[in-house]
Every structure is written in structure tokens, then in C-alpha cells.
């Protein structure tokens, strides 16, 4: 039996010790009519390990993966290099097969890495503290909104139109169920405007940095709007960009959340990811999720434990700061290894490379006939306009040349059918950018993509 170690003799001895004659007897409290007849389930046949591997391999090959195309698609999930060390470490059974470190004495390894994770996330965001992870960036943001509402006792969430559309959809769902309302701040030029809309019933103001279009938002303006309304100031920030940009903490953000995927986590069709959550010290007792602290054992040795546990659902039940229990520890570990493998210089280097590649791409794509839709400064992503062309069609064309050109924005923003959101990470090369430029030149000229 795969994975089940019982021999016939085992079963016999165990049933005897229990004092029953069959395993069926153990299920006697389940009403007869609720029991599944043996063999009644309509499931596919069992496969052996070799068959599993080849079956899954066959299925996987039907997908077009990013090892086979040049990926210019970002939109919150980035094709960044994952050092080989990350996989080597997170696959170690002591980490991979542990659970929540409820028993700190035999979980010191993981607890220490979480403490390191919290330290680095807080550092990147320029914040006082960070938690041990949330599900993903979108739910992390929703939690920030709910936290704000709870703290401020207000029921309106202001969010910029330039925040990731899926994140805003998740926020809508969460807010609907909590009877909160969401008001969207417009961003006609690709940067949040209309901060004057923020009213004093606002629990928080949420902006993204750099925003969904890649543009570096004016956090000073956002903060002012929040402060004026007495609302919390919440930023959704790309952690990799933080290697270069002035962090939200330095703009006095109250809460900073984000998606940790770009730091060592496989794209994996968007899951599992890892939500980052950082805040000011004063909010720590309202923080959702787990947090690890350093303490001492009775000999005075340093050690780590989960702390401030009375915020959590297993203790506080309906009064908990959140319902989250299982989080994304393993992906947080991947991000920890990533940040430590790259370190200060490595993080700066790949961020700088992204900027260089992005600037070069913008230049080449303009020369090829594309237009840069917005004027703001960008970090590693920008909106490219194909005058007179539908971006989805352009994407289809470029796929033939093994280029995943970006995200066509038509489905997400009105009037942007000719726009593509293009990300250029450190993984893209000059050759790939030149190839992209050559392709769009042809496409824009109405020619075949292959010149």
C-alpha cells in the first residue's frame, strides 16, 4: 500500500488490542446509510510512482512555461532569478514537514528563521515590525483595511485605482462581508489623483508603490490625504523595489503590505505565494497572524517563541485580530533565504539591473513605434501603448516568437485596449529586449511578427 505501513499481522494485533474484530466495526457510529460501499467511488485507478511521474510530466508539458518564453509579464508576480540555494534549503524535511512551532523547544530552527524574516521585511519596508506572513499580498491588504477599520472604528476604505485590480477585487469581497464600503480614488494619468475625495469617515487610504502601472506613486501626497482625514496610511509595496526606493516607513506609513513572491518563490500559477505585513510598533497588538519574539529559557539561553498569542484565533476566538491560522511559513522561509543569499548588495544589484533593463526597453520600444502611456517615473514596469492595435492581439503575435509580451490592460481598465503592462526584470537580456522591439516594429507596421 503506498505510504501505509500496516501488514496483515499488524492489523490483526491492533484490532485484538482494541477489542474489535474488524476495522468496519470502528466505524459503527456512522449510520449505515451514510457509509460508502466498497468500490463505489468513481475515481481514476491508482498509479504507481513511475506512472505518476510520467503522467504529471505529460500534463505539465501542455503548458507554456517561463523557461520556454521570455517573460515580460509581471503585474505583481515576477520572473526573478531564484538562487539554487533556496530550493536546497526549503526542501529539507526538517523544515518542509514541520508545522506551526507550537512547541518552541523543538522548533528553534524555524523560529529563528521567522525572526530573521520579520527583521528583514521590517527593514525593507522601513517599518518597526512585521509578522510571520499572510496568505498572499491581496489578503494581506484586505487584512490591513479591516485592521484600520477596527482601529479607527470607521467603515470606509479609500483605495487608489492604481492598486492591482485583483487585490481590489479581494478587498471588495472582504469588505462586503464585513459591511465596509470601498471607495476608489481615480488615477487618470497613471498616478493616484483625487486625494481630495478622502473624507473623514475613511478608515484608511491605500496606495501601491510602485503602483500597478509601474509608476512610483507620490507617497507624500497620499500620506497627507490620510493624515488630513485622520485615517491610517496603508501602502502596498513591492519588496524588491525597496532595495532602491525610499521605503514607505520613511513616509510615515502606518501599515505596509505586499507580495513576497518576487523574493525566491516560484510563480507557480500564483500559488503558494506569501503575504508581507508590517506596521508601526503601536499597532502590534492589532497585527493579524503570527509573530515570533526572542526570549530566554530558564538557563538564560536565548530562544525564540511565538508571542503576543492572545491576538490569535485559537485563544481569542471570535475576538481575534484575524481568523488566519496556517500561514505561508515555507514561502516566508524561501524569501528569507533569498534575502540572505542576495544580501544588501545583491538586492541592490538586481533592482538596479531591473531599472537598467526597463529604461532600455522603454527606449527601444519607443523607437520601434510603441508609446509609453504614462509620464511618471517607473521602477521595473511600464504601460506600453500600441497605437491602433489591440494589445491582446499583439500578445498572441509575440508568443509565436516565444515572447510573453506582458499583460493586455483592456480587460482591467476602460479605454486601454491598446495598452500592455510590460515588466522587465533582471532576467531579461538586451537580446530579448531587442527581439521584442523588432517584433513590435513589424506588428505595428502590419507585417508578420517574424520579419
Amino acid at each position: 500500500m503506498p505510504y501505509i505501513p500496516h501488514t496483515d499481522a499488524d492489523r490483526k494485533e491492533m484490532l485484538a488490542a482494541i477489542g474489535v474484530n474488524s476495522i468496519d466495526e470502528l466505524f459503527r457510529e456512522i449510520p449505515e446509510n451514510l457509509r460508502v460501499k466498497p468500490g463505489a467511488l468513481n475515481l481514476p485507478p491508482a498509479l504507481d510512482e513511475a506512472q505518476l511521474m510520467s503522467h504529471l510530466h505529460e500534463i505539465s508539458k501542455k503548458n507554456v512555461d517561463m523557461a520556454h518564453v521570455a517573460c515580460f509579464l509581471g503585474a505583481g508576480i515576477y520572473d526573478r532569478y531564484i538562487p539554487a540555494t533556496v530550493g536546497a534549503i526549503i526542501s529539507r524535511g526538517e523544515f518542509l514537514t514541520a508545522y506551526t512551532p507550537y512547541q518552541p523547544e523543538l522548533s528553534q530552527g524555524y523560529l529563528q528563521t521567522i525572526y530573521e524574516f520579520q527583521s528583514m521585511v521590517a527593514e525593507l519596508y522601513g517599518m518597526d515590525v512585521a509578522n510571520a506572513s499572510m496568505y498572499d499580498g491581496s489578503t494581506s491588504m484586505a487584512e490591513a483595511a479591516i485592521l484600520s477599520s477596527g482601529i479607527k472604528k470607521r467603515e470606509k476604505i479609500f483605495i487608489s485605482e492604481t492598486v492591482h485590480p485583483s487585490y481590489r477585487q479581494v478587498l471588495e469581497t472582504y469588505c462586503w462581508s464585513m459591511s465596509l464600503t470601498v471607495e476608489t480614488l481615480p488615477a487618470p494619468g497613471g498616478m493616484t489623483a483625487g486625494y481630495d475625495k478622502v473624507t473623514e469617515d475613511g478608515a484608511c487610504v491605500i496606495v501601491q508603490y510602485p503602483n500597478f502601472f509601474g509608476t512610483i506613486e507620490d507617497l507624500g501626497a497620499a500620506r497627507e490625504a490620510a493624515r488630513k482625514a485622520g485615517a491610517l496610511f496603508v501602502v502596498v509595496a513591492d519588496p524588491v523595489a525597496m532595495a532602491l526606493l525610499k521605503p514607505p516607513g520613511e513616509y510615515d506609513a502606518d501599515i505596509v503590505v505586499g507580495e513576497g513572491q518576487p523574493m525566491g518563490v516560484a510563480m507557480g500559477l500564483g500559488g503558494p505565494l506569501v503575504g508581507l505585513f508590517a506596521c508601526k510598533q503601536e499597532l502590534i497588538r492589532s497585527l493579524p497572524g503570527r509573530i515570533v519574539g526572542r526570549t530566554k529559557d530558564h538557563h538564560g539561553n536565548d530562544g525564540y517563541v511565538m508571542t503576543l498569542r492572545t491576538r490569535e484565533q485559537d485563544i481569542r476566538r471570535e475576538k481575534a485580530t484575524s481568523n488566519i491560522c496556517t500561514n505561508e511559513a515555507l514561502m516566508a522561509l524561501a524569501a528569507t533565504v533569498y534575502m540572505e543569499a542576495l544580501g544588501k548588495n545583491g538586492m541592490r544589484e538586481i533592482a538596479t539591473t531591473s531599472v537598467r533593463n526597463t529604461q532600455y526597453a522603454m527606449k527601444q520600444f519607443k523607437l520601434a513605434g510603441g508609446e509609453i502611456k504614462f509620464t511618471g517615473k517607473v521602477f521595473g514596469e511600464f504601460v506600453l501603448r500600441f497605437p491602433g492595435k489591440n494589445a491582446t492581439e499583439v500578445q498572441t503575435q509575440l508568443l509565436k516568437e516565444k515572447i510573453l509580451a506582458g499583460l493586455p490592460l483592456g480587460p482591467f481598465y476602460k479605454g486601454m485596449d491598446d495598452c500592455m503592462l510590460v515588466a522587465v526584470t533582471e532576467m531579461r537580456t538586451k537580446n530579448q529586449i531587442d527581439h521584442y522591439a523588432a517584433c513590435i516594429k513589424n506588428v505595428l507596421a502590419g507585417k508578420e511578427v517574424l520579419a
Binding site: P2, P5, N33, N42, S179, L333
Partner: protein
Amino acid sequence: MNNSTKSVPQQKLIFEKSRAGRVGCNLPHADTPEVDLKGCLGELRDELHLPEVSELELLRHYTNLSHVNYGIETGFYPLGSCTMKYNPKINEKTAGLPGFAMLHPMQPLDTIPGALEILVGVQDMLMEITGFDEITLQPLAGAHGEMSCLMLIKAYHESRGEGKQRHTVLVPDSAHGTNPASAARCGYDVRSIPTDDFGNTNLVALKESLDDSVAALMLTNPSTLGLFEPNIEKICKMVHEAGGQVFCDGANMNAMVGTTRPADHGFDCMHLNLHKTFSTPHGGGGPGCGAIGLQKHLEPFMPVPVVRRADGKIGLDYHRPHSIGRVSAFYGQFLMEVRAYTYLRAYGKEKMADISRHAVLNANYVKARLKDVMPAAHDRPCMHECVLTAEKYKKENGVRALDISKRLIDYGFHPPTNYFPLIVHEAFMIEPTETECKETLDAFCDALIAICKEAQDNPDLLHDAPTSQIVGRLDETAAVKNLDVRWRAPQPA
């Protein structure tokens, strides 16, 4: 307990191993022209206190940290309610295939037919196993699944004009903390339902609570006492008659796989923890993976996108006017679904029921072996876990359940869950899972029997435990008082 003793170096924090200017990684370097960063980006940050270590030091750091961390692959991990079963290595290999791991969630649909095949494959198998009409894989963990189910229920009541009126969710006193917390997170008031002396739902109390403010009952079946709710059909009927919905907390699905189907019990919806029942690794606290199942009447409210086979092709359905919306950014924990798919296909039609059958066999065996030192809270056949009480040792010897658990560490075992469910005094919730062999169960029971004797003969052995680990018992109160949750770079003098 003839453990030998090895000295294990306590690892400094990585920050303390850092050296300015060191680079640990052979990184992609730019071949595009240099730029003026300030010109491009505007204001730049000054300091960035991230560690600077070599790749070798990094690996040593983690190798040594892993040696002071306990996983299923280290030893027996009978953490009740968590289903710490073996996580097959083949699943790691299939989930690591580039054709799965290197997919972008927003790439065009026609470039991911294989991924959609996995999603629909898992959905189909889970539908068959649970009996539900629909499955969605969007929720990211168990609690997230609970919340999503309550949202479905909320949307359902709203669609019937009863949204405002039905503001109460009933939660048994034995329920996991996420149940009331998820209810609160959906804006519901929580009302507690007591458990009766047999460990079942108190039907009288339930009846009394069933007024027209009730949106739902959240029931865990088997319960957190490890007991199958024999009145389940009746309970569902009662709630339905009162206009409420019944949600099943499916954390305990491991007792039922292939043996009984929750949808047949009368539940309207349920969540599953694929990281428990379907063996995706717990990863030190996550990722979870929280599928939900639902009956047809809740279908209009399912979160978008709905992944579905139609005319032999698999597509995504976004156009759902009654949908609660998105509950997470993309498709759920996709790579965990790949693992779950691999696992499900390993058992298949022929062997699926073996999971629950052996899980239940193991739990009853442990219960039987321990009955003299630690009686079950309820003397009935248990399901996949048994809940015992160590109250006697507290009363007679001043030894708490926690002390016994810490002593188990010295015997080389991960302790079971303690103090849950809250209604059992000095609870020991032991879930062996089906992947443990009899010898391991015997060794564990022998240890627990020996410890119970120690509790009577030499209680300080237990109070001082553990002594076998790199740290002794840690001061959690001090941790809160002198809060230290991050390292900070020393200020330049």
C-alpha cells in the same frame, strides 16, 4: 530513552554573521546601458541593513538550524487536528516540474491547458470523495475556506432577502478557534452551542438556539473530540428547517476519505485542508490549501473564477453576477494542488478508503493502549484521533498536560495537541495518522505510560522538561513583556 547526547552549536543570527561588502550569490548582471538611478527613480533610500554572507555560510546556517527543528521526517508528530501524515517525496518532484512551477498566473489561458487539467482533476476527485456538487480551490488555507463558505452562506441569505435578519452563526464549544474567528470576520455574531455528555452536539441547546437570526451552524465532523456525530442527519435537518445552513469544518476529513461523504450527511458546504488530508507538506506552518465543497443551491455565489470543463475544454467562468467575488488574487495554491493531485492518483479508486480505515485503526489502537494511564474523554470508538484527559495528574501530582508533553520531547516525540478542545480538561489530542507503523505507536505509548509513572514518582522530571533540546522551557511571559520581534542594526557610535 538511551539517547546519546550531541552538542549542537546555537546559531547566531545571520545578521551577526554579516560582513560589509560580501556577496553570497552569482547574480544576473546587466548587459543594458547604465542609468542614473536618482534620475530614473527620484528619491533613493540610504541604508539597507540586510545581511551579507557567502553562499556557504548561508547553507551552514540553515543546515544547522534544521538540526534543531522537528518535522515529520524527524519523528512521530501526533499533533491532533493537524493530520501530520507522511508527505510523499514524489509529490515534491511533480510539483517541481518547470511546466507547473514556472507558470505565471496571468499568462493567456490557452497557454495553460495542463494546469487547468490539474485543477479540474482535483475538483473532480474531491467532488467524488466529499459528495458535493461543486468544489473550488481558491481558498488559501482552512480558515480561509471557512470564511469563504460563510460568505457563500451570507450571499445565499441575502439573495433570499434574509441577509440582515440572519446575523448569527452557531459554533459548538468544542470548535477550533478559526470557526468563531471566521464567523466574526464575515460580520457575524457568534453563539456557542454546548456539547453533551456523550461528546455529541447538545440537541436541546441547539434547538433552543435555532431562531430566525441563525445564518448557519458550523459543525466539525468528526468533531474535535475525534467523535463522529451520530445525529448529523437530524442536526442538518433541524438547522435547515430553521432556515439556516450547515457548514462542515473538514479538518477531520482524514477519518472519512472513501468511507463516508459529508455531502450525504446533509451539509451545505465544507472546507477541506488539503495540507492535512491530502498530504501537502505543512511547511513549518504553511502553505495551507483550503478547497471548499458546496451543494448546488450555493453554486451561484461561488468565488470567481470558476474553473470548469465545458464541451471537453476547460475554461474559466468570470461572468457570475451573484458571485461573492474573489477571495484570493489568482487560482489558489496551485503547486499544492499538483501535490494533492499526485497523492490522490497514487491511491485511486482501489485504495482511497484505506486512508481513513488505517487512520481510524491507528487512533483507536493508541486509545486502547493508553486507556489505563490516560482515559479517553468519551468512551466510544474514536475516529482518526483520540482525545484523552490527563486531569488526574494535575489533581494528584500537580503535573499539567503541558509538563507531560514537554517530557515527551525528551523521549524523542513531538507532543500531541494539548488544551484543545477547550471543553476537555488537560486534553491530549492524539492523531497518529495512517502512515505510522505499529512499532512507532507502541514506542510512543510506552513512553507516555512511562511518563505517567514519572508524573507520580518524580513530578519534577516533568516540570523541568525538556532537557534534551538546545533550549530548555522558554519564558513566554518575558517574551511578551520584553517584546523583541526583530533585529536592528547597531547604531553607529
